[in-house]
Amino acid sequence: MGAMVALAGATALPFVELRANRLVPGAAHSVAAAGPWAYLLWLLVGVGFLSAVAPTEKARAASSTASGYGLVVALAWGIGHAASTLLVGQPSAARVSLGAGVWVLLAGTAILGFSGGVERRRKLVRWAGPLVLTALAIAAAFAWGGLDRISLAREFAVRASSFWTLLGGHLAMAGTGLGFGLALGVPLGLWATRNRHVRSVVLGVTGVIQTVPSLALLGLLIAPLAALSQAVPALRALGVRGIGATPGLIALTLYALLPIVRNTYVGLAEVDPAVIDAGRGMGMSSWQLLWRVEFPLALPLIIEGVRTASVLLIGITTLTVFAGARNLGILVFEGLGQFAPDLILLGALPIIALAVVADVALSALGRALTPEGVRA
């Protein structure tokens, strides 16, 4: 199936586009623009098809894995080749950008790689070798293969210094919101387990907040905050303004609350009452029970809540630029405003990457912090 998708991408859709400058649409070029690399691409798609008919499970896995990694490398060099050849004799404003065909090819590649490696997905060590090799091959394509000439790389080169600042701003904003969310959410979740009324209020309110569209919540926070800072100059001195980091941080904190509060509550409430009874009966104080028994048992679920919250916040942080915050959202919305596809990609791709990395890292942390005795 991966090979089918890859084939469709390679034949039916434009491979790269040559454009007169970074804003106007350009002329489509087929995969033939990749020159000699096109043949390798075809060959690797063929290997992918072999995986469907290979006689043994092992051969199937091997052929799809090989074609998956191979395609990534061949794509990197093929695109580089296309960019360098097409740009010969063109003015410096001209750009070569990636066509839809490349994205579809990449999706097919991901499917091939996945079906090849599905049974050993958990073992990072086995992944390390091929991954490092692939990364080196892509880096080489940047250095010598012309991959640095594609429009996305050019866009990055222009924005390199502000890009890192904005990335840092994104992380700082999402991280701070998450920190506040944790500092508030865990105690609230704990309180909810001790008091029925608190539970219904806290879970109800955070649930409603979660439903409100983030942009609307941001808007709803800005107006009153602006009024507040007008009325109380001392607050303005502290940096509380209608526009700027404050409304964004409040919104992010509120969004982080639901997953953290709910998971803390569920994690603590799900601890077997017999365990608590036994602990109390043996003479543990409420604090000892909480620290030695309840929290360790609830921790995996709490981390799971933090994971959900952090993925959510990395996305919503993007929107805080409307309230004047500075982060990767600036690239996205400037790009949308200028109709500059590469600028959008430059903002959106790192945001997606951050979210995926946060997801993977916090899943791993959750597994690591799961007490051995309760691991599935």
């Binding site: 409100v212 569209p213 942009l215 808007g219 959106a348 997606i352």
Partner: protein
């Protein structure tokens, strides 16, 4: 039973109240003028509030309808024997897809698909699929093995097992996936204003751009109400399709 009816009635009343509220242009005019006396224009001139709401609703309705029409059958397919080999792939793809921020996905739709209504619908549709598909898979797989054995043992055909046993028992979980998906769609559609699809995001983003807080409220308040209302309505549907025994167990 009566509690259910009260819930449905409350949602219907709230929906009518919401419709009346957003149609009352004059009310908003006077109210926002009172709140922001220094602001000469308090309602975005581009469209009436009702029109913004309608644009928003159409966008969400079309994309959610597509999402359900494709997502539920896909989820069912991979839980059948014929689709079993795709199950791992679909689960991995939906798990990964759900970690993608919806804003980023929407932004990516523009370079790939262009500006306007349909590209936004496509982005919302694709993104909305993830919770629906994973909800469908989770719902169907939560049906106890023993129940399926009993159904097969009584001579039901696979289609009958699906229609009479699996789907009714999975309905609640499937619907909660739909509910999540619709909530995300309503929220993301707000951002759609940035790629020219209209909707309630227009006054919010426009208001922020020109520092007119009245515009912001004109968009933000109805958007928040709409989201909460849609969520409450779907919660009622969820209650209505829940098998009583399952409700008692939950």
């Amino acid at each position: 039973m009566s509690r259910r009816r009260i819930g449905v009635a409350a949602v219907v009343v709230a929906a009518i109240a919401f419709a009346l509220l957003v149609s009352a242009q004059g009310l908003w005019q006077s109210w926002l003028s009172a709140l922001f006396p220094k602001q000469p224009i308090v309602l975005m001139p581009r469209d009436t509030l009702a029109a913004f709401v309608l644009q928003h609703l159409v966008l969400v309705a079309v994309s959610s309808a597509l999402t359900i029409a494709v997502g539920v059958p896909l989820g069912i397919f991979v839980t059948r024997r014929s689709g079993a080999e795709f199950r791992a792939l679909v689960v991995a793809a939906t798990d990964l897809g759900q970690t993608f921020p919806p804003v980023a996905v929407l932004a990516l739709a523009m370079p790939l698909l262009g500006f306007g209504f349909w590209p936004t619908v496509m982005a919302l549709f694709i993104y909305g699929m993830f919770p629906v598909v994973s909800g469908t898979i989770a719902g169907i797989e939560s049906v106890p093995r023993a129940v399926l054995d009993a159904a097969e043992g009584m001579g039901m055909s696979p289609m009958q097992v699906l229609a009479r046993v699996e789907l009714p028992l999975a309905a609640r979980v499937i619907l909660s996936g739909v509910r999540t998906s619709v909530a995300i769609n309503i929220g993301t559609a707000t951002v759609g204003a940035a790629i020219g699809t209209g909707g309630l995001g227009v006054p919010i983003i426009g208001g922020l751009a020109v520092q007119n807080m009245a515009y912001v409220l004109e968009g933000a308040i109805p958007a928040a109400l709409l989201a909460v209302l849609a969520d409450a309505a779907l919660a009622q549907v969820e209650v209505a399709v829940t098998v009583p025994e399952a409700a008692a167990g939950a």
